[in-house]
Symmetry: C2
Subunit: 191 residues, 2 copies
Amino acid sequence: MGHSKAEKAKTHQRIVAKAAKRFREEGLEGIGIAELMKEAGLTVGGFYKHFNSRDALVAEAVSSAFGTWKRQVDAAESGGPPMSYAKLIDDYLNEAHRDNPGTGCAISALAEEISRSDKRTRALASEEIRNNLQLIAGLLPGKDKRAARSKAIMTYSALVGAMSLARAVSDEALSREILKTVSEFLKKSAR
Amino acid sequence: MGHSKAEKAKTHQRIVAKAAKRFREEGLEGIGIAELMKEAGLTVGGFYKHFNSRDALVAEAVSSAFGTWKRQVDAAESGGPPMSYAKLIDDYLNEAHRDNPGTGCAISALAEEISRSDKRTRALASEEIRNNLQLIAGLLPGKDKRAARSKAIMTYSALVGAMSLARAVSDEALSREILKTVSEFLKKSAR
DNA sequence: ATTATCTATAGATCTATAGATAATGC
DNA sequence: ATTATCTATAGATCTATAGATAATGC
């Protein structure tokens, strides 16, 4: 048993990180507290010393899953060339992302469940979507800010929708066709 | 108690129709058998004379929710002018559809849960998506079939993604901006 | 006689809490 | 003394089944 305050904070983050992954994989109600705690190397009884309720964990986990994109972009840029629109598209619309929702975009993994969540969680989603729209708009050339915002909204919608469709179908060829077509279409129309 | 075979068939359809609506509203696990049966004017005990399991109902209800679009298009065309690409976009990307998932597109309401469902349900989704892509492609002008298919995939992705984003955000202005921007963008680029 | 539906409930979860145990930290 | 975690369990679901009841249909 680890009991120090520092260890408790680490444990807390471990639970949140595991939940952020598993919720994206199984849905917000696809995994219970007992199993989550077990995966974090703990037992169910300790849960409520960390969170007031299951919903409190959901909110924290969703919040933690958000910002993934921005962090990835920042990390990539700090060690190399600046992010480009084409690279952003490629990083999103690929089979690895499709097959690993647990580490990917929380919006495409959870949008429908978020839309049924409480206002607090949806406010977090609004913030995330707003941030990502600005991130995309910043990668688009030209000085017309309104045009860039429109294109960013169109791009984000197409990315999220294409990923949803590609994950929903059981036909691998159709799934790949969706990813590839939308990817090429977006990159072509950005030129 | 109604007991005839004809009434049983009607009752069966009533349960499926109610489930198709409620699953789109609450998610595939958001409503239980007892409440569904109650809404259909029945009690929980009769359920298993209609379905082998809850999953069997889910598959039937999802299947029933599919094809909504095609039926609407057929109905609209039978009593008026042929459907146009612009009208299809308007019928999809509006606030009424956003606020009433229970009677709307089953893909945008359930894509994420479907992607976690069994192969049979995902095969149904593949068929639905394939059908809808053909429906959209058929509304696009020009003789280049490959270009029409690409544009149909892009359109369908943008529609589903825009609806997901518009439903996820709590900010009404942002939600409307997403619907309007994608709607205008698609219609403009189809000319 | 068969069967569509009903009431009642068994058995399996799942969230949340109670009380014990073993560390930290004053 | 405080508290982070543990084991155990209460209470609330939810799916599925058992057996009774009241219609249909031969």
